[in-house]
Symmetry: C2
């Protein structure tokens, strides 16, 4: 049975696809068998990232460990049971196709509320939720008062996760290990950063998630997309000198992978 | 007839709601009558931003110029013409309600592809598209080669804008003034930043948009969300000393508003 990692957050632009590609590539480079799915069927940022990787490596004649990727299989209406949702069928068909071979299946979710995303969350053994260091992003987890201190109540995304947890409990599945990851953090200590840290800490106790060490705002996390590479691949394509920010980025990625506590993975 | 400003980008997290609130508040503070709509009916980031503003100002007993905001009116199925899409009806009902009073109607779109967003784009006199300084965001405007230099072809969002432009031309409406805005730019000169600048410049000539001066990555653009304020409001709530970054942010916002060339607005 493959371990299923879902990367989700209904808030747009939190860093889901970026985190997906970095986690998947890290696991592939460690020798784990990792397959990926992209549930944003129109944007397909993760699919495009992997596609760019294959195109670039083929052009350069270089082989690098890479995550597998498949599109959701198309299905014929006749294959559906009575009343079955076609998206549910496509997702479960993809997962059972990958399950046999893979150690891990990583599923990247869209930045909106869709049926596919809801079903994926109920399949999650591990759920990673990246979050910009901003109360605009926090607002989808919980509503907070004018001072950014008192939590007023859960918001739409944490309610969706709650529902997914209920479904798993009813089906007798083990609980979701939910990990929130602060992303694009500023380098300096700021009032906003300290307030966000406190608010996330408080919320983690109320709604039950772990907080993993996050990523700072670093160009290296975004500039390699056209070649489908991550900072882990740089030395294999001949970049010998890493600048300070890239060394720090590598450290952040290592710490994050460690915090995920994935079965069989030692960093 | 109110001038309709649509803030759109199918890519999540580009800065649509942030730009919406800052443009709307700037226009309100200049004395223009501005009404806003939020087409992300679930997240409602812009709606929440305006709500936070009203709650904070009421609590502090302060009056500040503020944009109007209404939810899309609920409609009864009996009000629909045969075959009419309920969302089209709700949006046109909202626009005609606001049209009489407002100089400007600003519509914030969700970070996904929805019917409401498509219809809103066809209503746009001005379309503002914020974009993270990243080829991941650029990928929804156009596909680019591995080096981040050669444009391979248009992508899903620019095709949607193209369709909206066709609809307007067929209806004899004036063309959309499409403005792309780089957002969350890093302070230092980087290779990625220069490449993005060149790629956007090239694309603007191919698909016909103007490039406005954008925003840097600044905490002040996000930390005032819980109070519903923008940096323009700071001196009215007693903040007399603006730091360097806040002064620069004010300048960026002024330059951006100027570049929009809105009728009757002089900055
Ligand atoms: N740590 C980081 N440092 C710098 N840029 C980042 C970082 N993480 C993400 N980005 C950039 O932020 C933007 C949003 O990231 P990404 O597209 O991965 O988010 P997402 O949650 O998948 O978005 P969507 O909701 O559209 O699916 C992209 O332009 C990406 O390049
Ligand atoms: N110039 C900026 N400097 C710093 N942070 C910013 C800036 N612009 C936007 N942000 C932050 O980036 C994140 C995304 O911005 P925002 O929510 O406005 O984007 P959006 O396009 O409306 O997202 P969605 O696709 O979810 O509607 C938020 O956390 C916001 O606080
Ligand atoms: Mg994504
Ligand atoms: Mg928004």
């Amino acid at each position: 049975m493959a371990h299923i990692i879902v990367v989700g957050n209904e808030k747009g632009g939190a860093g889901k696809s970026t985190v997906s590609m970095h986690v998947a590539t890290a696991l592939a480079r460690m020798g784990h068998k990792i397959a990926t799915l992209d549930l944003d069927l129109r944007q397909k940022t993760l699919g495009r990232y992997v596609e760019n990787r294959h195109r670039y490596l083929a052009k350069e004649g270089v082989e690098l460990p890479s995550p597998d990727y498949i599109d959701l299989p198309e299905i014929d209406k006749s294959q559906l049971q009575a009343g079955e949702n076609p998206y549910d069928h496509r997702l479960s068909a993809a997962v059972s196709q990958l399950e046999a071979e893979a150690d891990f299946i990583l599923i990247d979710c869209p930045g909106s509320h869709t049926r596919l995303s809801q079903v994926a969350h109920s399949l999650a053994d591990t759920l990673i939720t990246p979050l910009n260091d901003s109360f605009i992003d926090f607002d989808l987890l919980a509503h907070i008062d004018n001072d950014g201190e008192r939590i007023l109540g859960p918001s739409v995304y944490s309610e969706m996760v709650w529902n997914a947890r209920q479904l798993r409990a009813q089906a007798g599945l083990k609980p979701i290990d939910w990990i929130v990851l602060r992303n694009r953090m500023g380098a300096q200590q700021m009032v906003n950063k300290a307030k966000m840290e406190k608010a996330i800490e408080k919320l983690s106790k109320r709604i039950g998630f772990r907080v993993a060490p996050g990523f700072n705002e670093r160009v290296i996390f975004r500039e390699l997309f056209p070649r489908g590479l991550t900072l882990l691949d740089l030395k294999d394509i001949g970049v010998t000198q890493l600048n300070i920010s890239n060394v720090a980025a590598r450290q952040e990625l290592r710490e994050m992978i460690k915090a995920l506590n994935l079965p069989g993975v030692s960093v």
